[in-house]
Structures are given as structure tokens and as C-alpha cells.
Chain length 353, copies 2
């Protein structure tokens, strides 16, 4: 399928590098493609970024049949443009699509659409420390009808946002609240899909945690409320007595692409990494015995996020003196170095466009 | 707050009574109100039904911060217009708003907005058997920004749809698939809120069940996958050995207003009704012992939906010879009779506008 391109005649002013924040500004163009039962995916186009008209009966407002992805583009040291593992994002998008009864999208075609869009708006890729061009592909049902069933029509859209660090503080340890009341997801549910409802479900606990001075929530499993799952916008890793441990993907945890990269980089650097069930009690026990050496989150938005404090049922665990750990720093330097083409990528994670 | 009214200059043709279906047609007007942190809820207006412009970065497409309600208006025997328990819907809407971090809405004001809208479009209320005017209030976050946190701006919209029966067959027994793999909700989650994510989560199991010839899915609890919860679009009741039993509201079940009405009407009619935990094994045991006399669902869309067959792990339970049970018929006649003003409403459920 050919992608029709209509360029903007009124390019926007680009924001200052220090004003970027996360997901506040959008570039001059977007990719759009429509789906109908009769035509399949059709009318692929890159057009000026702008609003769409939606009827108030449009399904997405009512039943949330919607998935998204997030990945980043970087300007390389040689001026070339690098994407980070875009095929992994498109594979995960199709797994989410399947769980939400949304039609599959050709992964090669989707990566090519992203490639063309990013190249058209490549002057929007910021170059400062910690900055990048965030790419947000998303799909949602657009039937204008009530009644709970999968939509017959969809939109696949890709928008681009120049971003700074996800956390205002950059790479500095965050405080995490271990949530023992609210639950994000349970096996058999939609936790492993990158779908709107998981994020809506997380807002209340996040709000409560923020009021207590914590920047994110660590979710426990939905069945026993005992095993560590993820941090909403990140996966989580623990370094306990020299070994790195992360919760095994059990069907209610989102399989992060940064999580996967971190496991590969750690193993490639000689660390032992184990994916298994980890109870919050085990974490607490390790803390009491002085064996909880590092905790960090991993995700596209923040890449690596050192955890300086965990609070579980009122008990505070201060980790590594609230300082950035050695493993966290190594992973951040290695992964962001590869992402920007500054250091050799022996894992084939980067994709030059 | 005053509601500004702008009437349509191009009224639409009304659909034929036998073509209504559910949620396919919308009336000439809608109610809209906006929220911002600075102004609170403001700019309440009734305007011609039509599309809105939304940026692709609008939060609702990505994070599903969205809730809805559903209630019905009927034309009474004397030509007056009746709503059914609208204050209960607005209370539940605010409980959903709270769970989803959406600002509260004045319940009296919201009922009055619905009243004014329905009266303006009262010629759209259909009068045939099983028909009504379905009212869909809904609220969603409208910030144009990525990043997972509650929106700072919202839209509250009410649209109206003349509807026939939810099930094409009218009041006739449905076949229900007892879901033992997928899970809708778990305690600590969002199951008790009427929010988009719960419906998105239900689509896959529904699709699988439909392929096997079942019209709906009966969900089991998320913790043990053992206790009966609800039927996605309905609550569920069992008549076992003369007693009517329904799952107790445990935090992961939607508290249906028809469910509540049914409990009151049954008690008012001399039946014993118990709200408690019910395992699917208990239901199956009762079936084997010939004590499972009736099963029915309750919800705004279908009112009462007799269940003719339950299928659990391949075993089919045919209930009451796949015929409409006596209690189901009595409840349907009583509740729809009150809704249309045809029989005396000793429960004060109806609200004449």
C-alpha cells in the first residue's frame, strides 16, 4: 500500500529544548490509516497534524477499545536518525490488538510508515541530553454506535512529540509506593496489553501515592496481592545479593521492550539475571538483611529510573543511600549510548532510517 | 447554572419502530458541559447532535479516563414522560467519577439537564412493545497531552437513542458461557465502576463465546475464578430451591440499578432474596439435584433476560426447559409496567418529567 503524503503549508515553531517536558508538543505531521471490514486497512496517509471530527457516539469514548505503543527516535552522532527496536513495538502492538479484538496491522508496513513520518519531521528531533522524539502509534474503534461488541471500523494514527526527561529530575532516584489496596491487573485480564483501560485503572492509586510524596506506584499481583508486578509506566528490577531479579511475565504484566533490552545487556555484561516470582516480603527481607543493593525501573519514557525508596505498608526502605546505583548507571549509559549511536550496538537494537 | 439551548434547524427523519435495534440512531439534540480546573463545570448547553473536533493527542484515546451511564425514558399511558430512577444513575456516575479521578457532577443539575434534553426530543420516544428512549450520559478526559495522570479538562455529554430490544429476540431465554479463562475484574480494580476499560476487557471472551453460539459471558471472580460475578451487560440471579440468590456486591461487580430494583420488587412480592457469594460449583450442584429453577440477568438495556442455558467447562445446564420462568416473567411485567406507567409504582422508581 502506498502512503500518500500531504505536507503542511504552515509549519509550527519548535519549542525550546528546556521547555519540552513529556508529550506536550507535537510535530507538523502525523500518519493515519483507516480500517473497515470491506476494505481492510486502507487510505494510508501522512498529513498535517491536526484534529479529527468524532461523533459523540464514537465507540472509543464509551468502551475503550484502544491500544497504543511508545518508542523513540534519536539523532545519531553522524547526523543519521535511529529508531530503537521498532519491530518489537509493532509485534507488541499486534499482541495488544489481538487481546482487544482489533484487526492486525502489517508490522513491516507500520515500521515503514513510522520511518517515513520521522524522516519528514526529522528537524523536530531534539538533541540535548535526555531528549528524543517520542513516537506514539495508537489504534482505536470508531463505529458510531452503542452496544458492547468489537468495532467494525478503526483508525491507526502515529503522532510524534519532542520530549525531555519523563521525570522532571532526569536520572535521579525516585520514591515508589508499594500499593496494597488497589490492583492494576490480574491473570486472565488485560494487564499484558498496552491498552487504555490499564492506565485508567492506575490513576486513583497514583493520585493517592503522589499526595504522600511518591512519584509512582509499584503494583502487586491481583490474586494474592503479594507478588511484585510492575510500576505502571515501567517494569521493575531488584539487585539482591549480587543477582538481578525481575518479575517473570505472567500474563498480567506488560512485557517492556526496555525490560527485554536490560536483561540482554545485563547478561551480555556478565550479570546473572533471573525472571521469576518475587514477593514483596522477599524484597523486604533482603532489605532488612542488607542484601537489597539496587532497585530500578525500566521503560521507554524514562529508560532507566533508579529507585531510592520503597514504602510498603508504612515501612520505608531506603535503597543504596538514595543514590544512583552502579548497575542502573551502567544500563542507562549503555542503552542511551546505543540509542544515540554513541557506543557500539552489539545487540542490534538500533535501526537506522 | 443556566442551560443554554440552541435548537436544530434541520431535524432528522425518525427511524421506523421495527428498525430501531440498539444504539444505532440518535436524536436531534445533545447536552454538553465542559470542565476546567479554573472554571469547574461550565458552559452547560443543549445543542444540535453532531460531531466534535478532537486532537489525536486527546487523552481519552490513549488512557481511557472515561465513564458512562445508561438509563431509559418511556412515554406513559397518559402521554407524560417517565424516567426510571435517574438519581440512582447520577449517584453511580459520581462513584465511577471518583474511582477514575474525574471531578464530581452535581446530581440534581445532571438530572435536570437530562429532563430538559428528553423533553426537547420527546417526539423521539418510541412507543412500541419493548422500545424506549435510551439515555447515555458520559464523561471523559480531554487534555491534549501524553503522560499518565488525570486530565485537567473534561466533557460531560448526554446523547439519546431510540431503541428496540437489546437482544434481537426480545424476552426469550439466552445462552450464557461461563468464562473460566478470561477475567473481567478483580477486587481493588475498576470492576465496580462503569468505565470504558471494563468493557474493552470483556470483548475477547465475548467474541470466543459468540463463536460457540453463546450470546453473553458469565464472569467468575478474579481471585479464585470460582465465584459468580456478573454478565458484562447484566447482573445475574439464580432461583435455587425456592430462594432467589444473587452475588453480593464485592467491589468488582457493577451495582446495577435494575439489580437493585429486582431485589426490592422480589422482596415486595414475598420472595426471599439473598445477596451472597455463590460459587459456580454450587450452581452446578443445584442443577444436578434439580434445584436450579430459574436463572436470569438484569440490566437497563434488556431489563430482564431469562437464561435458558449455562455452559461451564463443556457441561451444558439447560434451565427451566429453556423457557421463560415465572419469576422472570413477573419481574419483566412488573418493572416494564412501572417504567411505562401502566401499573402502579409502589416503589417510587419512576420519575415523571
Amino acid at each position: 500500500m502506498e502512503i500518500k503524503i500531504v505536507k503542511t503549508t504552515t509549519p509550527k515553531e519548535k519549542p525550546a529544548a528546556n521547555a519540552l517536558g513529556f508529550g506536550k508538543y507535537f510535530t507538523d505531521h502525523m500518519f493515519v490509516m483507516d480500517y473497515s471490514v470491506e476494505k481492510g486497512w486502507h487510505d494510508a496517509r501522512i498529513i498535517p497534524y491536526g484534529p479529527f471530527e468524532f461523533e459523540p457516539s464514537c465507540m472509543v469514548f464509551h468502551y475503550g477499545q484502544s491500544i497504543f505503543e511508545g518508542l523513540k527516535a534519536y539523532k545519531g552522532a553522524d547526523g543519521g536518525v535511529l529508531l530503537y527496536r521498532p519491530y518489537e513495538n509493532m509485534k507488541r502492538m499486534n499482541r495488544s490488538n489481538d487481546r482487544l479484538c482489533i484487526p492486525q496491522i502489517d508490522e513491516d508496513f507500520a515500521v515503514d510508515a513510522i520511518r517515513q513520518l520521522v524522516l519528514l519531521d526529522k528537524d523536530w528531533i531534539p538533541e540535548g541530553e535526555g531528549t528524543s522524539l517520542y513516537i506514539r502509534p495508537f489504534v482505536f474503534g470508531t463505529d458510531n454506535a452503542l452496544g458492547v461488541h468489537p468495532s467494525h471500523t478503526y483508525k491507526f494514527i502515529v503522532i510524534l512529540s519532542p520530549v525531555g526527561s519523563y521525570y522532571a529530575g532526569g536520572l535521579s532516584p525516585v520514591k515508589i509506593w508499594v500499593e496494597s489496596e488497589y490492583v492494576r491487573a490480574v491473570r486472565g485480564g488485560i494487564g499484558a496489553a498496552k491498552t487504555a483501560g490499564n492506565y485508567a485503572a492506575s490513576l486513583k492509586a497514583q493520585e493517592v501515592a503522589e499526595k504522600k510524596g511518591y512519584s509512582q506506584v509499584l503494583w502487586l499481583d491481583g490474586v494474592e496481592q503479594k507478588y511484585v508486578e510492575e510500576v505502571g509506566a515501567m517494569n521493575i528490577f531488584f539487585k539482591i545479593g549480587g543477582e538481578v531479579v525481575t518479575p517473570v511475565l505472567n500474563g498480567s504484566i506488560l512485557g517492556g521492550i526496555t525490560r527485554d533490552s536490560v536483561i540482554e545487556v545485563l547478561r551480555g555484561s556478565g550479570y546473572k539475571v533471573t525472571e521469576r516470582k518475587i514477593s514483596i516480603d522477599e524484597v523486604h527481607e533482603a532489605y532488612k538483611n542488607g542484601k537489597l543493593e539496587e532497585v530500578f525501573g525500566t521503560g521507554t519514557a524514562a529508560v532507566i529510573s533508579p529507585v531510592g525508596e520503597l514504602c510498603y505498608k508504612g515501612e520505608k526502605m531506603v535503597i543504596n543511600n538514595n543514590e544512583i546505583g552502579e548497575v542502573s548507571q551502567m544500563l542507562y549509559d549503555t542503552i542511551t549510548g546505543m540509542q544515540k549511536g554513541a557506543i557500539e550496538d552489539k545487540y542490534n537494537f538500533t535501526y537506522k532510517i
